[in-house]
Symmetry: C2
Subunit: 205 residues, 2 copies
């Protein structure tokens, strides 16, 4: 792409560094900003920079937070004995949206993935092990996505905490509510039959 302006080119190049945004999309976004009042670009630039510089992580669960201890960890009504292990803040938001969970979280910050150069040291696993060692945790719920990386991470953590006397569970895998059986993949359908629950339980929610 040949640009008529260096300023435009730089903006497009930086924009296209974002995942899923190619040069053409970046150009479209940048031209959109040019047509909008300058205020909008200023707000975007400032909010991104402010976020990147001042963002803080909860010292207990490692979730993104503006305070030292996030709202969930600081809430006395939540059960600190149950800890749900998730990949990132999006998973916390998704689970919070269900209003079904009243325990704490532990945000790993990713999954073990040697292909992407992410080893256990890059994640907050050590801090989770410390938390278990302290003895307050009674149940650890693994809620990572069920991919190779997710399973590896689950297993790695499980091995680290095996010696301590706590319950470890994983979220249920099965057919999504509203899904047609015939379109479900075999692994999911197989697990949903193996881990069937008493019919009365399914009526509760």
């Amino acid at each position: 792409m040949e640009f008529s302006s260096k300023l435009l080119e730089n903006a497009v190049n930086e924009m296209s560094q974002l995942p899923g945004i190619g040069k053409r999309t970046a150009l479209r976004l940048v031209l959109h900003l040019l047509r909008q009042p300058g205020q909008q670009t200023a707000l975007l630039a400032e909010s991104l920079q402010k976020m990147r510089e001042e963002i803080n992580f909860c010292k207990s669960c490692h979730n993104i937070s503006d305070t030292q201890l996030c709202e969930i960890c600081a809430n006395p009504n939540r059960n600190e004995k149950i800890v749900c292990v998730v990949e990132d803040v999006r998973d916390v938001m998704a689970i919070e949206n269900t209003s079904q969970y009243k325990g704490h979280y532990h945000v790993l910050g990713g999954k073990i993935s040697p292909m992407d150069g992410i080893g256990p040291g890059e994640l907050t696993i050590q801090s989770l092990v410390e938390k278990v060692k302290e003895g307050t945790v009674e149940e650890l719920i693994f809620a990572l996505s069920s991919t190779m990386e997710g399973d590896t991470t689950n297993f790695y953590i499980f091995k680290q905490i095996e010696e301590y006397d706590i319950t470890t569970t994983t979220i249920a895998r099965g057919i999504s509510v509203g899904d047609e059986l015939e379109y479900a993949d075999e692994v999911t359908l197989g697990r949903s039959i193996l881990h069937r629950v008493p019919f009365e339980n399914s009526l509760k929610n």
Copy 2:
């Protein structure tokens, strides 16, 4: 969406103002920036702001340019007697990529679109009419997209310059090179038959 941090929320909200970027995509992009070195966010923010504040438009053709007169208008090897009327900088880039055109451009900055509140006054039509009035232009090529808005804009400009003695042309509409006839829409196919060209001409390129 409930965010655990105001900083994160602001960044996501500003990001999702961009066209085609919803809240979820914005969150994904922002979290990506958080995982990358702070330098990347700083560069993105700075390049956007610098571009928005310092961008300059060629005083002759209104294309984005870092200089008062853009490279094309300032190039003595280009024919200023032929002016191609386009919507925005992307069209200039697309036509320049073909290496087939050696005339000047005139960037309108949009199309007349009452639905979006864009009237002739918002575009650089007046400046184009002035250019024609000065008498250097011999041919005006309309290269707007063939939509209702494009056709309206073409016609509006045509009416403004009708009295002057210049040639007005539009780019050829027809079947794309490599396209199958059976999949072409009727309007395009119809025009490609009406505006057929001598076979020898098609061998030249």
